[in-house]
């Protein structure tokens, strides 16, 4: 295909709408043709700029409530009408469809929602919030409220400050040291924020009661965007989250110590 012909297909290429073999051959062509390559690049940037500029309005919470209320009202009416219609022979079917339809609608809304959500946000916000807590604490002049390397000082300090208790491992003989702790809040829920040191690095360990808001999975937990590493697990009804600039393997080492404490 000549350069001229490609120029007319670049828009479809940028929209990822060329047939697969043409997508491939355009890529091959662009590798040798700077003109086509830079056109595609400029168009891609333009598309990205439009996407960002176009996401301008968000539905108000009032509209959200209105739509949900209207949806619920309509579902009730539909169910009632179907019953009143008294189509006895197919009664069970008639009664069943609005519920089936609702379920399908809800599922599809959810699926469509997830699709958008996954596109827009690569990671759950709770993840970013833990990274923020970690950074904000380290930036503070007094990062910890209880300054101690002794687990038997740090653990009792939390008594009466958080609504649960946890065990700390003996770190003797490990490369980690405990520097202290503070109370942290996440979604209005108090929890423990412990700070460990590894050489010159710091690791935040957050311990919270495991609530649905904290339902985050390890698979989403490689935060390349901010280059922090995170580890999370649940144990005895508590959610543990480790945040650090250390590599994942070292973080896993501390996670193991916390999981298999004596």
């Amino acid at each position: 295909m000549s350069c001229m012909e490609w120029q007319n297909r670049i828009e479809a290429y940028v929209d990822a709408e060329l047939p697969p073999h043409e997508m491939e051959s355009f890529r091959a062509h662009a590798a040798t043709c700077t003109e086509c390559a830079s056109s595609a690049l400029a168009l891609m940037e333009a598309k990205g700029a439009l996407r960002r500029a176009g996401r301008r309005y968000v539905a108000s919470s009032e509209l959200r409530t209105r739509v949900l209320a209207a949806t619920a009202r309509q579902t009730r009416t539909t169910t009632k009408e179907s019953t009143d219609a008294g189509m006895l022979p197919r009664k069970s079917n008639v009664l069943a469809w609005p519920r089936w339809a609702m379920a399908a609608a809800a599922l599809l809304l959810f699926a469509a929602g997830l699709f958008f959500f996954a596109n827009r946000y690569q990671r759950p916000s709770s993840l970013a919030e833990f990274a923020d807590l970690h950074v904000a604490t380290l930036a503070s002049a007094n990062p910890v409220e209880v300054v101690s390397t002794d687990r038997h000082t740090v653990k009792p300090w939390f008594q009466g400050r958080i609504p649960f208790t946890f065990d700390l491992p003996d770190l003797q003989g490990s490369p980690f040291t405990l520097t202290g702790g503070r109370v942290a809040y996440f979604h209005q829920e108090p929890g423990a924020h412990l700070i460990f040191a590894y050489q010159r690095h710091f690791i935040s360990a957050f311990i919270f009661r495991d609530t649905p808001q904290l339902a985050i999975s390890q698979s989403t937990f490689s935060d390349r965007g901010t280059s922090f590493n995170l580890q999370t697990w649940t144990q005895d009804g508590l959610r543990y989250v480790l945040v650090s600039d250390l590599n994942a393997a070292t973080l896993q080492q501390l996670a193991n110590l916390l999981q298999h404490r004596q």
Binding site: E45, R55, L63, L109, A112
Partner: protein
């Protein structure tokens, strides 16, 4: 409910009015629910909802006005050959968010909607064709024209402000 946000964003861009957009979205959900049995399972639910929204908009007062003021586009015309790597494309790629939004606002509704569906909602041509009830070829030519118009608007905007900057300097 992110679909709600996407529909609202689209409605707000089409109607240029907050309360009208809210009414459009509410009506869309009501119609969607009422006509749920006409939705074929396995087909594109998102496109279906956008289509309801758009049809509702077209029969609204603002929609009818928009239709009247839209120039007739020669859709059967073959797309003109273009060289992309030109100042216009770069003007679009590097335009500020505000400038882009202002230009999109001014774009005739036929082009605005197709660009929103493609670049903002990231729909495939096939989905857009379903939403607009037009053939795919029309989607492509409208996209091409709309983007070209947008590029021209932004380039002339930039030309104007550059000229203004120069005359300011001379003073």
């Amino acid at each position: 409910m992110p679909l709600l946000d996407a529909l609202f964003n689209f409605a707000r861009w089409l109607s240029h009015d907050q309360s009208e957009a809210e009414d459009l979205v509410q009506e869309t959900f009501a119609k969607g629910l009422r006509g749920f049995d006409s939705f074929a399972p396995g087909t594109d639910f998102r496109a279906w909802m956008f289509r309801i929204l758009r049809n509702t908009f077209l029969t609204s007062r603002t929609g009818l006005q928009a239709k009247l003021t839209v120039p007739l586009d020669a859709e059967d015309e073959a797309p003109v050959a273009v060289t992309w790597e030109n100042p216009e494309t770069l003007a679009l790629a590097s335009a500020t968010r505000d400038a882009l939004q202002a230009a999109l606002d001014e774009l005739p509704v036929v082009y605005r909607e197709v660009i929103l569906l493609c670049d903002v909602e990231e729909m495939k041509y096939q989905e857009i064709a379903e939403v607009l009830s037009v053939p795919i070829g029309t989607v492509m030519s409208r996209l091409s024209r709309g983007r070209k118009l947008l590029r021209q608007m932004l380039a002339s905007e930039r030309g104007l402000s550059a000229a203004r900057g120069k005359s300011d300097q001379r003073k």
